[in-house]
Every structure is written in structure tokens, then in C-alpha cells.
Subunit: 181 residues, 2 copies
């Protein structure tokens, strides 16, 4: 991803935080993580993150999704003796459609990102509005997409080790590579 | 504490959440925890809490302090093989003055609750404004007080086991006893 694209996404995410009154420090604003997953289409598949704290016991982040932006399907595997990351998503703004492994009704409310259909395989739908939350058990495949106004989601979890995440799409690179432009 | 006092404090805390746009479910609003610590003066020493999630790996809460309300000095001891609870306080609204064990300048910005002076023994001051946070290591004595407009603080932590908290004041009962009135 180009530095200019990262900067633009950081600015847009910061404006969404401002809009709902979530305060960040100047340093947090400057370092919002922009994850494009190496797919080259941030608007469609991407995620913006602020990590408040990540210790060897717990982690807390804010996740930002632009309108209809999708965080691609993945799971958190066990690391050593520890079960995979367990996460609680609490919607703060907008609507988020979360899909996890489990029963599905045959239809879902969002469109899977075009061209990546084969990498979306779990369709048990959970619709989260502000104030609603859902806890994803360790090792559970999941993906999520914002509604048309985007979404902000607080993530409370066990320790985060994003570099070990297993994505269904083999083309995905979780850790961003930024090209100066 | 009387049920009517609990209800009034729940309503007041819910209004503070509304004021800054933190959304709760109807059930969360109805069950806001009101901790008076058995001291009979909630306005002076007390805390209001919403626990979003508490698993055997992590915990997330919102803490509400009314204007100048103080959460009394305590620490989180080790439980079995696990070190004590580790917590990150992130201020969302108002100002919170946090005191932990460590160097102090000889003066602090708040008044210790009248009549309980002997139970406040640590005075290393951290002043947190919205967007600022501080992580309290396990086993560290700490207490905190809101500024004149009250405060809302997000707490991210390891597993919460409030019943084991050790308070400096031996008169304190952490787990509330509510009397119907």
C-alpha cells in the first residue's frame, strides 16, 4: 500500500472517531493501523485499527470499517499452550454484520467482496447495532462487514498476535507493507 | 444500601452514558452495579460499573464516577498460580485522578474522603483526561477520584475477581448488600 493511501485512510478513520466522540491521543491518531491485507482494494477488503493496549494477558482495540468494508475471513489458532485468541466485538457506531462458523439460513444481508467469493465459507449471521456485542470463541472462522454508514467496533480480547492469524484467502498478507510515495 | 439508592445511582450513571453517547442495552442499563463498599456514603466513596465481558482470559468494564466520587484504595492479589489482576484505565469523559504506589510530590490535587484519611496510603498521582490511559501492574495499591464533572473510564483487564480485592480500609465490604425499601 502507498503511504498516501495509508494517510488518507488514517484521516478518514480519525474523522469517524471524532464524529462519535471517541478521543484519541495525537500519537494514536498518527499511527492508526491500516490493514489492506495485501489485496490492493482497501475500500472493499480492509480494516483500520487503534490498539489501546496489548499485554501478555489481554488486549483492547478499536476497529473502524468504512461503509461496506469487509474484514476478510480468518481464525486465531492456538499458540504454544494457549488456546487461540478469544474476542468480544462491541458495536459502538453504525451496524456490523458478523459471520461465524455455524448454522446459516441460506441468505445473508451483505455482499461478499466481488472476486473473493471462494474465500468466504462461514455464514452464521450476527447483526450488531451500537451497544450490542458478541464473543467469538477461539479457533472460530469469522469475517465481518460494515453497513452503509461504516462502523466502529470495540474489541476486547485475550492477547493479540495478528501475525499468526490464518486467513482463508491464501493471497492475504496480514502485516502491512507500506511503499513511500 | 437501599434499593431506592441503587436505583437512583443507576439512573444517574445511565444519564452520564447517554450524555457522552456510550450505548448500553436495556438490560445493561437496568443492572448497572452500584458499589458503595458498605461505607454508607456513596457520593463520597463509591463506584458505578457496567461489566461488558468477564471471561477466564480478559475483562472489559465501564466505570462511572460521580463528581468527586472516590473508589477507595485497594489491590488485586495473586489468585492461585495467576498474578493479580492487571488493569488499563482509559479515560473517556471528565478527568480522573489516579493514585498508585510510588513517588509522590508531597501534594495531590484532590481531597482524600473525609474521615477515611488513614486508609489512603499511596499518592503517586496520574491525571487522566479523555483519550489518556494508564496501566496498573498486578498487586499495586491504587485508588482514584473523579474531577468536579464526574468521569467515565473504560477498564481493560485480565480476569476480574472482585471478591478477592484487598482494601486498605478494613470496614469495606466489596460485594454489595442491597436492602429492599
Amino acid at each position: 500500500m502507498k503511504r498516501s493511501e495509508v494517510r488518507a485512510a488514517q484521516k478518514r478513520a480519525a474523522e469517524m472517531f471524532d464524529h462519535i466522540g471517541i478521543m484519541l491521543t495525537p500519537e494514536e491518531r498518527e499511527t492508526i493501523e491500516v490493514a489492506g491485507f495485501g489485496l490492493g482494494n482497501l475500500e472493499s477488503q480492509g480494516l483500520e485499527l487503534v490498539t489501546y493496549i496489548n499485554t501478555d494477558r489481554y488486549c483492547a482495540k478499536e476497529l473502524v470499517l468504512f461503509p461496506n468494508q469487509t474484514c476478510p475471513e480468518h481464525l486465531h489458532p492456538p499458540i504454544g499452550d494457549e488456546p487461540g485468541k478469544m474476542e468480544t466485538f462491541r458495536c459502538r457506531h453504525g451496524v456490523v454484520y458478523l459471520y461465524v462458523d455455524g448454522e446459516n439460513s441460506g441468505t445473508i444481508q451483505v455482499e461478499v467482496p466481488a472476486g473473493s467469493e471462494e474465500y468466504y465459507t462461514v455464514f452464521h449471521e450476527i447483526e450488531l447495532h451500537p451497544g450490542q456485542q458478541y464473543t467469538i470463541p477461539p479457533g472460530t472462522k469469522h469475517w465481518f462487514q460494515a453497513g452503509e454508514n461504516g462502523a466502529i467496533v470495540s474489541e476486547f480480547s485475550s492477547t493479540s498476535r495478528d501475525e499468526f492469524d490464518i486467513f482463508t484467502d491464501p493471497n492475504i498478507q496480514r502485516m502491512p507493507v507500506i511503499v513511500e510515495d
